[in-house]
Symmetry: C2
C-alpha cells in the first residue's frame, strides 16, 4: 500500500471532536505500527523475490544455516520463526520443492523429520547473506546506535506488556 497516514490522523481528530477523550498518542502509535507493517514486509520481500524467496523462506534457510550440520526439525522452525507447526510444514514443503533442503526421517524419534540444507541451499544462503544484510542496514540507516537501542528497549517493553 502506498497510502498516506494522514487520513487516519484526521479521522482520529474528528472523533475527538465528536466524542472527546481519545488517547490520541496511544492510538496514533498503535495505528502507525500497522501502517508501517505492509511496507516493511514489502521492503524485505522485494529484496528476496528475484530469488524465488520471501522473508519466511529466507528466515527458515537462515535458521537451518545456524544449526550444526545445517540441520533442524520443522518444530524448531516453528519455535524460531514464531509460526504455527502447520506453517512450518508449508515452509518445509516449499524449501524441499525448490531443492534447498531435504527431509530426513529421524531414527531416534519416528515422530520427527530432520530437515537439512542441501549444497544448493547452502550456496544460496551464502550468496544472499551480504544482500540481506545490506537491506537490513539500509532500513535502519537513519537511526544512530543510541536510537536503535532505545527503540529496542521500548519494543521489548511493549512485547512484555503483550505477554511475550
Amino acid at each position: 500500500m502506498n497510502k498516506s497516514f494522514h487520513p487516519l490522523e484526521q479521522a482520529v481528530d474528528r472523533i475527538e471532536e465528536r466524542f472527546p477523550g481519545v488517547p490520541r498518542q496511544q492510538v496514533i502509535l498503535t495505528r502507525l505500527y500497522f501502517h508501517i507493517l505492509p511496507r516493511l514486509t514489502g521492503y524485505l520481500n522485494d529484496g528476496m523475490k528475484e530469488y524465488g524467496l520471501n522473508e519466511s523462506l529466507w528466515m527458515s534457510l537462515l535458521a537451518m544455516y545456524a544449526c550444526p550440520h545445517q540441520s533442524l526439525y520443522p518444530s524448531d522452525i516453528s519455535d524460531t520463526l514464531d509460526s504455527s507447526r502447520t506453517n512450518a510444514t508449508r515452509i518445509v514443503d516449499e524449501l524441499v520443492r525448490h531443492g534447498w533442503a531435504t527431509r530426513i526421517p529421524c531414527a531416534a524419534d519416528r515422530r520427527k523429520i530432520g530437515l537439512e540444507l542441501t549444497q544448493q541451499g547452502l550456496e544460496l544462503v551464502e550468496s544472499l547473506l551480504p544482500v540481506s544484510r545490506a537491506n537490513y542496514r539500509a532500513l535502519w540507516s537513519d537511526f544512530d546506535p543510541e536510537e536503535m537501542q532505545l527503540m529496542e528497549k521500548m519494543m521489548r517493553k511493549l512485547l512484555a506488556r503483550l505477554g511475550g
Copy 2:
C-alpha cells in the same frame, strides 16, 4: 503465538559465528517488529471479538463515525485504513450484514455507493468507545509521554525510510 523471542536471538548469534558480519541490532529490531505483531493484533481483536468485531471492522465503524452524517464511501475506508478497495468492499459487506451500516447509492456520481452508520451501529460505536480507549491506554501504560513521543518520532522516521 506465545513463543519466546529467544530462539531467534540465538539463531542470529550462531549465524554471526558461522558467517561474521551480522548487523545484529538492525536484525533484532526488525524481527522484534514481526514478533510483536501477532500479539498486538491478538490483543486488539480480543477486546472486540465478543461483539462480533475485529479491529478492521471496528476501525471502519470509527472512520464512519468520524464523518459528517456518519457517512462515507468505501474508497474512503480504503484510504483511511490503508487497505485495498477490494478489502474495503469486504468490510462494507460485513458491516451491512451485521446491520451496523447501510449502502446508499450516490445520486451525484453513479460509480459511488455511500455507506452510512445505522442507529444500531451508532449505539455500538458509542458503547464500545470507552472499552477500546481503555485497551489502547492499557497497551501503552508502561510508557511515559516522552517515551511515546520518542517512539512515534522513530516510527515516523522508519516509515519515511520505507517510502510512506
